[in-house]
Symmetry: C4
Subunit: 504 residues, 4 copies
């Protein structure tokens, strides 16, 4: 059968026809009612060929959808491989086995707390854990190795305590500040996180709308589920967005992306520098694992399953040779301010000033890259004195992300000298559980918390926040406790309280 | 129908009549057998209109009672809105659904430990948790945000250890001291806590009687369930009381309150400075939440439930613009010693000395306001050296509250330089569980503990307590532990003890 | 009826007769088959009258036995109150209700691990907890207040780590040392602990025999269940014992006790200085509590139950006015070396040197007196440098007790400069669970452990132990961790391991 | 019956004949189908006579096999005691009682995760725990005393955090380094661990093959289950191995072993210096305990069971008098580089340099010897500055072992100055659970992890690793937390999340 180009297709393809191309030798898949020949593309697929072959000759839409922006096929698959429309009535629906886990999830969704029951950002996380698909939860919530940095990010804020001022006039609280010249209503931004459609079918545009409502900035991720233009288009006039960039080995592509973003109005370029390779996240890997076909013990020691979770599937666009000497080139191709995202030690902040970038984000990628990287806020406490010592604290804007869940966390970071903080997962969870109303409420809660806590710390606006308001002596303590012995674990009586009367 | 003034009412109102006024447009409620038109008052109600509307056209007494002092309606609702007596026989009794939680609580009350089974202040807390209404427990026991400061208040005492002296003649122990010139039998006072009737129908007057028995001072809260005069009247001649003050935006009201208190014999004015806005306490908010009418998912992201627990309902009387420049005015309107309650850093203690107040309470409001505020006793350990360095330690009396549960806690605070400590929740719990006998026993236990521990530390009276008797090196460590990895959590064998013989 | 003196009694008393004297007005009790009139003694009873009245007109032997040395009645009850023999056949046996707890205990005793299954001192503790009577376990195992010092005593050793030497010739290990001039085989002694018969009907003489087998010294407690002379008589010729002394207000009694001990061959006088009043131990108090007769709620707040556990029952023999100025008197009445037991800070050790005593025990009474007293070994680490600085380290012998469970604990104390360590509870538990074989095995295990660990630390004898062999940097950290928030407690996934294959 | 020498045996021995020799007086056993007279050997058996007597007159092969290298009988039992072949058909098979634990284990083996489900080294440990024989698991996994050092070894790495560099060209990662002159592909070696056949019937040769595949060095243990020559023979040409040596009291034997190893091509001699006596490992001892015959309570306090687990059974070959003065002798008998394995403090490293050895392993024997020995990596952080201060850091190679589970652990050790790390248990567990494929995958995982983490820390090869890349401030904190009181344990509400809707 001769296939016309997809614009002039005379007759729809049938399921039976497609089903024949179900092997590595000839591999067709159906996506959104159109067929594609991906045989030659198999070895190039960033997520590995295996996951495609699972759908060879079949409809792959459901698996494909949340991981790929809509312009993916146009961009990466030659038009000659676009085979045209499929008569979907002729495609056999896969009868899925009833999955008891999924059934339980549906039950949990029915009993899901109403939105007003979420009183803080952690609550969204708890709800999302219950109602998200297991694999989506695994992708969002996982961290590198033993997830020690991931948890430390939040714990680090717990090591910082307040030294509040009293008797300040705090009737009128002004939370606004500026970030890279943009005035925002509250000093956080929505940081870039990948694969938004895993949590909500609309994807990142929900965050765009939420950011608009509260006049905060959204950072657009390279690896969004929506296309870059969709996210830009979702913004209202005057709404500010930034671009997060993974640098492609092909600098022409990178240049195109950057200049396109600038043209479309992006006001900041955040170059990710903590991910020369995307991290291993074992929870994510475990969640993808399927028993099917692997009940026979492998004897080779080789990886038979190369799909390795969502994280690994998207990692081939990153240039591991990116280095300081590339920075001038970036400064040359755009007028957007350039910020290095993922700086993790004082020395590199100083160097960032020297090379002339406009900001850094002290970040460890949400604990998803190098385990035992220190939290951004701990690094911040080292960075600011070093900058002040040199009189450089105005030369560069310092941002922090990772582990922010409370307005007190934001205040702590600002007291220590940050210009603002990035928040990622909490908004993803709010979006995954409740959509836009969730994101809206999450931001509302932060605003309410922050207004109150500014009052309680005795500051009427963010300029008043300063290092004397915090006690950071606990921040450098990286210690584990000594494991208990049998006395403590098994022999000592637990302490008891009063005894109830015997039942009469 | 024409309503006479309530003094000349010819005929009682009927339930049917009142039931008609059940909307925002016309809202009547019955309280203690009398009807009130609160339609115009709705938007002014500190607790929000919603909670009133729930009782529109109905008897609201049970909900109203524990939260409002008896003189509230006279003070805040114009006489013209007092509609007069109601024929309560005609008011339909709401048939309450049987509440399984309440039933369980009644069962727990039956099996409640006898009072003699309470051996320390924590025991009252454990009992109260079991026998109090859930909402009352939530109001008393809740803290700000993650309740980290609330717990830290108690934990901080655990970081202070003793360096006891031996071979001192400790046959006769004298626990007495003076506070603001008043001789007391033991160096604690009953600090101000709101809404005493939530725990016991008689309210704060029980604490008045308990304080009398042990010759300690009671601080009268602005937000008591009993009226100020009721609490004053409950004192015996010569019994000393202090006033805790939330400063109203209307300084005339404030002045009236202060001067009234002075006239009625109060011996100290404690101005709360750590609460320009009342804290969010999520446990309290969660406890108020009701499913009724909210089973439909909200889609707006707006708060539909504004009642937000007892804490938020009482917060509108506080002036957030109160500042240092108001202090001279206070010094001018009263001869009572003035103490700032809620000071949280050295700098502000020094300033308090400079502005000429007579004392400060190092306090974080029982962990109910700013989470990650440090404990009062930790601040104390910084404050006293700074005062001594300037020779100012006699210029001001330093008090501490928060987390005191043991006589050793009191001793620690006094060793570090406090004049006395405030104790709040423990007496509330004792009162809630056992009434006056509970409060009496709680104070007795503290006295017994303190007498013994004074002996054991080698001091016959409180003047002998001094900093060499404590080791505070652990006090500044604000650290969390590193989260364990799978080895520790899942793989290492727990340590085992000897194995029992096999059953024969 | 006329009662003859007990030596010339013509006829035995009957149960019926005795049963008449069952009130505060006339109170007789039977002990070991003889009747006593304790009416007048009631108010003087150290344990309070209530516990005696429980047995008024009845046989009190079982309750009396483990708490009182055999010579108690002769010493403290006037001969005229000794009513003579009782015809025990006529005394009604109290039919005890079957106690389900006791039944379970008997079951546990049947399944008790054989002695060889105890591989360390903690094992005896675990077994004893299961097989001892609840009240006996409560008395031995309880500590003051929140039992924080009690647990800290053991934990403190966990903060000390080794810096072992390698390549030392450790073929022959010599564990012997001298204590107050006596050569012992291993550097621990059996410290004084009260009420041995609670654990074993033979009481403290079992420890005497165990100490003999291993050539270590036993310290005889003032409050032993066996009489002092019984314990002395149980020793073999040449076996060295010490006396622990609670100082009686009546110095004549004290002098008699001390000089009697010296005459009977005691080689050291350990004056307890950390117990001017015996501690409150709440577990002990709770264990004594009985529901009988107390189901009606008390309304007075007064203690209705004054029995307050075994600890409080034995506390009236101690002079709280004992002070430094009494020490010369002690030095004058005996030639035995005098050691202050319970010293808890450097200043007091220096003063002890100055007043000329021969030693101190750094101790907090096993955590049974002042909670938050620091561990003896922590104090030791401060004391020795202060002594060495003054060149006084040979002027006095320093002992430590509290929390020793492992030979490594002993080695740590000796490295830091202790002459030896006292061990109490572990031998009580070994004795309670297994009698003399238990004590013997416990000492054997310590010896085996110590020999091995001396090799591993690279020292052939105790003289080689020195401070460079330990790392004590963790010793001063008295910190509690920050309480976790909901993220840590409820939301973060626990780390997972590999998933088992689905069952086929 | 007259027994010929085993070479000229005319007739096979029968089971009946052998069964007669079942006592201490005459004790024969069958091993691998041949009979041996071990009557005279009984008292010399390193594992004690009891374990042999259990098999007197019977086939002991199953018990004997994993603990003894195949050349044991030839080496240690005089040829005259080799009684010759047995007609195994005549030997009664012991009908083993069905062991419910073993049955459960077999079930667990059936459901064992497939190899690809192991994503890190801890996973092998978790699987091995489930599928290994209890006694084998106990031998491998046990540590000294309270296993505090054993756990600390791993925890210590958790106290070291990274200070990663960004924007380094890390496209090409080179993990190779040299150890004692040998080029290896990744900086770890397989350290010596005893009794490999407990985990896998093939024993240590599996590790030989695994090491070959990844071009890393294997250290051959003195106490291997395979014979030294078997392990050497299993290596491929050019594959490098080292020898771990327990020094025998008989130096001729030691010399023979060392020179044989050198002749066979060993490239390093690792003299164990942390084990003058093999440690007590209570888990191991408990696992060996058998109820049989011990249901009667022992009354003597003596050890009736002397078998004491696998560890104690192999300990008699070690000379506890080995000392520094023996080192020159070793330097004289071999040209292999000499490394002291088990050095634990700075002073001894300096001395090692002075006596002229070529390296040290900072190690505490996997936590199996002295409990509270510090981790190797903690000692390393003290050692390197002391060496650098003297300019000695090139004079000696420093290795570390203990607790390494992640590539980040390896990187941390190298940053601090180690030349390489030894890994023991993880490979044993991989081998025990999955054989060679397990070992292979374990090494693969480490390589993948290390490559990624080198990128993330910003280093392209191991030479770039340096101390500025780590934050070790937490390393010296040896602290335990204060035990919680009843408030924390029993009274405070746990923090709650949002409430699910009531079921409708």
């Amino acid at each position: 059968m001769n296939h016309d180009s997809n614009n002039t297709q005379s007759q729809k393809l049938t399921g039976a026809e497609i089903a024949k191309h179900n092997s590595r030798e000839s591999c067709w898949v159906v996506i959104h009612g159109r067929a594609y020949d991906v045989t030659e593309f198999l070895p190039e697929h960033p997520g590995g060929p295996k996951i495609i072959l699972k759908y060879a000759g079949k409809d792959a839409t459901e698996e494909y959808e949340p991981i790929h922006p809509p312009d993916t096929l146009d961009k990466y698959l030659d038009k000659s491989k676009h085979l045209g429309e499929v008569d979907m009535k002729t495609v056999e629906k896969e009868v899925k086995e009833e999955d008891p886990e999924e059934k339980e999830r549906q039950e949990r969704i029915k009993r899901m707390p109403i939105l007003e029951q979420c009183y803080n950002l952690m609550d969204f996380e708890a709800v999302a854990k219950n109602v998200m698909k297991k694999t989506a939860w695994a992708y969002y919530s996982s961290g590198a190795d033993d997830e020690i940095t991931m948890r430390e990010n939040h714990s680090a804020f717990h090591k910082i305590w307040f030294r509040p001022r009293i008797l300040q006039d705090v009737e009128h609280i002004d939370l606004s500040t500026t970030m890279l010249g943009t005035k925002v209503d509250i000093p956080f931004y929505v940081t870039a996180t990948a694969l938004g459609k895993l949590g909500n079918p609309e994807g990142e545009v929900i965050l765009t709308r939420g950011a608009r409502r509260h006049n905060v900035i959204q950072m657009i991720p390279t690896l969004a589920s929506c296309s870059f233009d969709e996210i830009i288009d979702a913004a209202e006039p005057g709404q500010v967005q930034w671009l997060q960039l993974y640098v492609n080995k092909n600098r022409d592509i990178t240049k195109r992306i950057v200049q396109h973003a600038e043209r479309r109005g992006c006001k900041g370029l955040f170059i990710t520098v903590d991910a020369p390779q995307l991290g291993r996240r074992e929870k994510d890997m475990r969640s993808k694992f399927s028993d099917v076909g692997s009940s026979v013990q492998s004897t080779s020691g080789e990886d038979v399953d190369r799909s390795q979770g969502a994280a690994r599937a998207i990692s081939s666009f990153i240039d591991p040779s990116l280095s300081w000497k590339d920075i001038p080139w970036f400064l040359g191709i755009t007028k957007m301010p350039i910020i290095l995202k993922g700086v993790q030690r004082v020395e590199d902040v100083l160097r960032a000033v020297e090379v002339g970038v406009h900001g850094v984000v002290l970040s460890n990628h949400g604990g998803r890259q190098l385990d035992f990287a220190r939290s951004g806020v701990e690094v911040l406490a080292e960075v600011m004195p070093a900058l002040r010592e040199r009189g450089w604290e105005k030369k560069i804007e310092i941002y922090v992300d990772g582990g922010v869940r409370r307005a007190t966390d934001i205040i702590k970071a600002l007291c220590l000298g940050a210009k603002g903080v990035g928040i990622g997962r909490p908004f993803l969870y709010a979006m995954s559980a409740y959509g836009l109303p969730g994101v809206d409420r999450a931001m509302n809660l932060l605003k309410q918390e922050m207004e109150m806590n500014m009052r309680l710390i005795g500051c009427a606006n963010v300029e008043e926040l300063n290092p004397t308001l915090v006690d950071t002596r606990g921040l450098s303590m990286h210690n584990t406790t000594v494991p208990a012995d049998t006395l403590g674990l098994g022999v000592y009586d637990p302490l008891a309280g009063p005894k109830e009367k015997a039942k009469l």
